[in-house]
């Protein structure tokens, strides 16, 4: 029988694929198969009569009534074979047309096969999808529900955004179909259409349908709808907030086994639905105290029931509950329950459960560090596990529980794993993490320099260039302390120099770009400090480095690295006093370089060296990267030239209108000016002109090698915030056009300040130049840097009994600062008090906060853009986290006392991080009005004087000032730097997050709200959408500071993140509530 024969062919195909020994062999089989299939298709053409010899592969089947067109079953097999071809990575597009044909077949099985093959093979941009639309439309409204179902499934995978409109009506119609299987597919399909093209499916309609479907009488439909709700709520939670009671009641019914037993899975009632509901609850409960409180009970029940079952499916629910509990507004009882579930996971023998345990722990420690303490040994064991996945998760956990005490240990561990890793994902991830914790918690500068250099060595190609800039600033500035801790700075520089000298000597050919550039700059500036190697030896080493083949390859052969090395050599030559032969040769070589920038530098240097060597010292001053440079802003030395040009008919220079625009390079070269440039031929450069050019070049082109007239090379700015030319700071070596330099000088050299505002910092140390705002987390900071005075070495920890195991030692190092357990002897506490004092005098020890350097402060004073956008929020988070630790430290006396200097007020702050802690407030508040137990959600004191209605509309707010203790607050007129200072002094922090607000959808609206509340607008930074305000109450006895960030998204809505800091927790709390109300 021919039919038999055909299937045998297929059988042989599968068999030979199965037996093939190599990919090549498999490919050959498939290529052969493609040829056979194509032939079949050819024979199938109408009118073509099989000429193939019977029995030959693929031939002899095209007799009438048995072609692919007429025999659907054969066509079906043909398609499955095409599917195989595609699945094994070959192109089966020749057969798609058959799939489309089959989709139009009468028989449902054939139809579905056709659809299915289309769904699997057709890429979204394939033109055949247009051919299918018509068919889908017809099938959707078919009276045969199997056809509708097939079409609905096809819709989810075949429709593209441009085609959504063609089927949406039919899909919506199917939502009311009698058969539940159609309804459930329809709702999923509709959601899919909405995702593809939100315009074609109105959101309101979708949400309304979804809410209706949630109450469908069929549990399957409800289950499918949960998927859709979760997906929608993740984008915008607002329309689903009021579903909490319904969801809770559904979850309750599932837990009580009210669903048909068909939905049970291994005797667990519908675990999928339970899990989904818990997930949705966690999305809704996040940042919403009220919603969170409503779900505590059911979460507890659900968790307990799942714990009882103890099989995998129920563990999944447990895990979901843990996640939910850590995400919603914290509840101590639930947290404890989650904590004990986590310990069960961690101690399990199943690797999967341990993995989940570590993940759960990581999610809980960020906000509740105390839970980490119970699991020290378990975590150490996971670190030693040979299972890579578990190990990675544990590293992530370590990263999250880093604090100033254990940072050295944890960084060591992470570096160790980074060294051994080959996986690019892991490497990138670890590099970022190490940078973050090193910057955030560095115990001292020397450590920071060593750590970051080590990181450069291991994974320099993955490091953010800004980290290198930071490192250089740190070396240049040291502690940045005004009181002249110059000696400590010199020690640091010397350490750094010796570190790099050793590197230069040992591994000149294995360094990556970041490392070479940092090394070149540090040695160029401070090479003379080396006691290991003489300066001329270093110069020699640098020359070799410059010429090595390795260097030439760095950065894809980009010239910037070589320019940097050249600058370093020049600087060192000038420090050395004479030019060693090697250097002279190198510089001579580069006068013929094809890189114009390097060539120019070398030529100029050579000229200086031969004609006026005494000037070298002035051009390359020693350790002057921080000096403020006297720049002739008016370029008066060019006046002669200008006058001459004008007298020759050139148009006088016209100052561009917006000269504080950051992207002014293009702006200042507006069409007019550009034209002027084009039309007037350049003057032949006179002698003066050449000198001017060179001076200019020195200032901007030299990058970090900045010479005497460098206004602010990276070293001169604590971070690139304060740098006048952000481009330069981010990549010191970036080649720059001469043109820019001129524009720079003319455009805005003088009024430096506006520049920094627009620069967003991608990393934590950003607030450096803000001094004060950096102090936003300064409350924990003094505590944090306690480690500086007495760095807790792991070795100091184990003192106890004989059975002190290595693991316990590790645990002690690891969990230092998290809690006091018996294993952590109180070795360091001896120090805290002596340490505390120096801290006060050197408040900013850590590199990221070299803060108010004498140089930087005046420059950046007007600028302090309050905060860098996201990272700053991070800092604030960490601030409250730190506060948490602080509180604990006080509570448990045996805790390592690095934290002792924390102000007492800090310690008194409530432990859970979002401290508005409304329930606690009525008892504490002396103000009589606030006894009113939040009947009107946070109106509090204001309630008596301000009519309720006025709070609804921000426009009506005209006169309703925020009142505290019955008295309106007074604006506190301070400047941004003062704001920053006070920010750090305020012990209580009250974050307010409004996920979507229309009343404060723009920065100015938000500022209006604040001003109307009676605050002083300190600064409004449009570039980053941030604003700061201040007010005082009780005649200045209590101060409240407000920082707000607006993140607009579509539809005129914005996410608003506000942080209220106050000297008085009551004031802060009420103000936070008030603002929350207003913003909503």
């Amino acid at each position: 029988m021919s039919g038999m024969h055909l299937s045998k062919e297929f059988f042989e195909l599968i068999k030979s694929i199965g037996e093939s020994k190599s990919k090549q062999e498999e490919d050959r089989i498939i290529l052969n198969e493609i040829a056979v299939l194509k032939k079949k298709l050819e024979n199938d053409k109408p009118g073509s009569i099989s000429t193939a010899i019977p029995g030959a592969p693929g031939g002899g089947v095209a007799s009438s009534g048995n072609t692919l067109t007429t025999n659907k079953k054969k066509a079906r097999e043909f398609l499955v074979r095409v599917l195989y071809v595609e699945m094994l990575g070959h192109d089966g597009s020749f057969g798609y047309i058959k799939a489309v044909e089959l989709a139009a077949s009468q028989s449902i099985v054939h139809k579905r096969t056709g659809y299915m093959v289309c769904a699997c093979c057709l890429s979204p941009e394939h033109e055949f999808r247009f051919m299918l639309v018509n068919q889908m439309q017809r099938d959707l409204i078919s009276s045969n529900l199997l056809e509708s179902c097939g079409a609905l499934i096809a819709v989810t995978s075949l429709i593209t955004p441009d085609l959504v409109g063609t089927v949406s009506t039919q899909v919506i119609g199917l939502l009311d179909h009698n058969a539940e299987t159609v309804r459930k597919k329809a709702i999923v399909a509709l959601h899919r259409l909405y995702q593809l093209s939100p315009e074609a499916v109105p959101q309101n309609e979708l949400i309304e349908k979804v809410r209706k479907m949630l109450c469908d009488r069929d549990p399957g439909v409800m289950g499918a709808t949960l998927n859709v709700i979760e997906s929608l709520a993740r984008v915008n939670v607002a329309p689903f907030k009021d579903l909490v009671p319904s969801l809770i009641s559904i979850l309750k019914q599932i837990c009580e086994r009210r669903l048909p037993s068909e939905y049970d899975y291994h005797r667990i009632p519908a675990p999928w639905m339970q899990m989904k509901i818990v997930r949705i609850l966690s999305v809704i409960g996040k940042n919403d105290v009220q919603a969170s409180e409503g779900m505590y009970e059911i979460l507890g029940d659900c968790l307990r029931k799942a714990e009882e079952a103890g099989i995998n499916a129920s563990n999944a629910i447990v895990y979901e509950c843990i996640r939910c509990i850590t995400l919603i507004y914290p509840n101590p009882v639930l947290l404890d329950a989650a904590g004990s579930s986590i310990s069960r996971f961690l101690s399990s023998r199943s690797q999967n459960l341990r993995y989940l345990g570590v993940t759960g722990l990581a999610s809980i420690v960020e906000r509740h560090p105390k839970y980490a303490a119970d699991h020290q040994l378990a975590v150490i064991e996971c670190l030693e596990d040979k299972d890579d996945t578990l190990l990675r998760k544990t590293l992530d956990l370590l990263y999250r529980m880093t604090n100033p005490v254990n940072v050295e240990f944890i960084t060591d561990r992470l570096l160790h794993f980074l060294r051994g890793s080959t996986d690019p994902y892991l490497k990138k991830d670890l590099t970022g993490k190490i940078c973050t914790i090193a910057e955030r918690y560095a115990p001292n500068n020397g450590w920071y320099v060593r750590t970051v250099t080590e990181l450069f060595k291991i994974a320099g190609d993955l490091v953010d260039p800004a980290v290198a800039t930071n490192l250089m600033s740190l070396v240049a500035e040291g502690t940045g302390n005004e009181d002249g801790d110059e000696e400590a700075d010199m020690v640091l520089r010397k350490q750094a120099v010796e570190l790099y000298v050793t590197l230069l000597a040992s591994a000149p050919n294995r360094m990556n770009r970041v490392l070479v550039e940092t090394l070149a700059w540090v040695l160029g500036e401070y090479g003379y400090l080396s006691s290991i190697m003489s300066l001329d030896a270093i110069i020699d080493g640098m020359c070799k480095l410059l010429q090595s083949g390795n260097t030439a390859k760095l950065g894809g052969g980009a010239p910037s690295t070589r320019r940097l090395i050249l600058s370093a050599i020049m600087k060192m030559v000038s420090q050395y006093g004479s030019c060693p032969a090697a250097a002279a040769k190198v510089i001579d070589d580069y006068t013929k370089s094809s890189d114009p920038d390097a060539q120019k530098r070398c030529l100029e240097f050579q000229t200086l060296l031969t004609t006026a060597p005494h000037l070298l010292v002035e051009v390359f001053p020693v350790d002057a990267s921080l000096e403020d440079v006297d720049v002739d802003e008016n370029l008066s030395f060019l006046n002669g030239l200008v006058a001459e040009a004008v007298s020759n008919g050139a148009r006088p220079y016209q100052k561009p209108e917006d000269d504080d625009d950051d992207d002014m390079y293009s702006g200042s070269l507006s069409a007019e000016t550009a034209n002027a440039f084009k039309m007037t031929p350049y003057e032949k450069p006179t002698q003066t002109y050449a000198q001017g050019r060179m001076a200019g070049m020195g200032s901007t082109n030299m990058g970090p090698g900045g010479a005497a007239n460098t206004p602010l090379p990276p070293g001169g700015s604590p971070t690139h915030h304060a740098t006048p030319n952000p481009v330069q700071a981010v990549n010191p070596a970036q080649p720059q056009l001469q043109l820019r330099n001129v524009a720079n000088v003319w455009g805005k050299q003088a009024p430096l300040p506006p520049a920094p505002a627009a620069v967003s910092t991608p990393h934590v140390p950003a607030p450096a130049s803000y001094g004060g705002v950096g102090g936003g987390f300064a409350s924990p900071a003094p505590a944090s840097y306690g480690g500086f005075g007495a760095p807790p070495t792991p070795a100091a920890a184990p003192v106890k009994t004989a059975e002190q195991l290595e693991k316990e030692r590790l645990a002690a190092a690891l969990f230092g600062g998290i809690s006091a357990t018996t294993q952590t002897p109180a070795a360091p506490p001896a120090h805290p008090i002596p340490v505390a004092t120096p801290q006060m005098s050197t408040p900013m020890v850590s590199p990221p906060i070299p803060a108010a350097t004498p140089v930087a402060a005046p420059v950046s004073a007007p600028a302090p853009a309050v905060t860098a956008p996201a990272p700053e929020m991070d800092l604030l988070d960490m601030g409250s986290w730190g506060a948490d630790t602080g509180a604990m430290a006080v509570a448990t006396p045996s805790t390592i006392d690095m934290l002792a200097p924390t102000p007492i007020a800090e310690a008194a702050a409530p432990a859970p991080p979002p401290p508005p802690a409304p329930p606690a407030q009525p008892e504490q508040t002396p103000a009589p009005a606030s006894i009113d137990p939040f009947a009107d959600a946070g109106l509090l004191d204001g309630i008596t004087s301000a009519p309720l209605s006025s709070f609804g509309l921000s426009d009506a707010m005209g006169s309703a000032k925020f009142e505290y203790g019955g008295v309106a607050v007074a604006p506190l007129t301070i400047t941004t730097p003062q704001f920053g200072e006070r920010w750090g002094q305020c012990p209580s922090t009250h974050p307010v997050n409004v996920p979507s607000s229309s009343s404060a959808s723009t920065l100015s609206k938000f500022m209006d709200i604040c001003v109307r509340a009676g605050m002083h607008k300190v600064e409004e930074i449009a570039a980053t959408n941030e604003g700061i305000c201040a007010c005082m109450a009780g005649g200045g006895t209590a101060v409240a500071l407000v920082h707000g960030k607006i993140s607009p998204f579509s539809g005129g809505q914005s996410r608003v993140d506000v942080t209220v800091k106050s000297t008085d927790p009551q004031l802060g709390g009420t103000l936070a509530m008030y603002l929350q109300n207003m913003i909503r």
């Binding site: 029988m1 039919g3 038999m4 299937s7 045998k8 297929f10 059988f11 599968i14 694929i17 199965g18 079953k73 079906r76 599917l83 195989y84 699945m87 990575g89 028989s107 449902i108 099985v109 579905r112 096969t113 299915m116 699997c120 890429s123 979204p124 941009e125 199997l146 609905l152 499934i153 995978s157 955004p161 999923v188 899919r192 995702q195 593809l196 399957g220 499918a224 998927n227 993740r234 068909e262 939905y263 899975y265 519908a270 675990p271 999928w272 899990m275 997930r279 499916a313 999944a316 996640r323 199943s350 690797q351 999967n352 989940l356 299972d387 890579d388 996945t389 578990l390 998760k393 994902y425």
Partner: protein, 198 residues
């Protein structure tokens, strides 16, 4: 350009809460079934398949069944010599994915009546249909096994009833093998076809 935009849109659409892809791979690294719910380029698909072969297959039995790969992770389960590997977004609950895989296997088992690798190989399209019935766009939408099988079987019965007399039914894929051939494959003759049919 247009291609790029389209594929971006599509992958964004289903990435959030469901499976991104499912691959069935034998221990020898042969692909038995693959379906990408989110759209990936050919190069990405190749890379995923290669990653599965290099990362999943060599893992020891006791290790955990999860491998993180940046923006997605593999969650896999091994049945005899066949690995079921689901690619899911990072934030997805790994344990429930493991159970979802098992649910799929149970459904296959119910349909093929004690499923084995050969069933899947020879009835690729049937397996895919079951998959599509359960996971629409990667989201588990039908967790009731009976419901799933009923859909498939009903459709098949309809075909039976529509078959005209005299048409060559033996060329239907599944029944195309002689008993002898089935024996060669190590299978009990007759032990196939949906339960509902017999």
């Amino acid at each position: 350009m247009a291609d790029l935009d389209n594929s971006k849109l599509k992958s964004k659409a289903s990435a959030a809460i469901g499976w991104n892809f499912i691959v069935l791979m034998s221990r020898q690294g042969k692909i038995r079934l693959s379906e990408f719910f989110s759209s990936y380029t050919e190069a990405q698909k190749k890379r995923i398949l290669r990653d599965i072969a290099t990362d999943v297959l060599p893992r020891q039995a006791k290790m955990c069944n999860i491998i993180e790969k940046g923006e997605y992770k593999f969650v896999y389960r091994r049945y005899a010599s066949l690995y079921f590997v689901a690619g899911v977004p990072v934030e997805m609950n790994e344990l429930i994915v493991l159970e979802q895989i098992h649910l799929f296997v149970e459904a296959l088992d119910g349909y093929f009546n004690s499923v084995c690798e050969l069933d899947l190989v020879f009835s690729l399209h049937k397996s895919l249909m079951i998959l599509f019935e359960m996971f629409i766009g990667g989201m588990l939408c039908e967790s009731n096994r009976r419901e799933v099988l009923q859909q498939i079987v009903e459709a098949e019965e309809m075909v039976e009833s529509m078959t005209k007399p005299g048409e060559d039914t033996s060329s239907q894929l599944d029944d195309g093998l002689s008993f002898q051939e089935q024996f060669q494959l190590g299978r009990k003759p007759g032990a196939r076809g949906p339960r509902g049919n017999r």
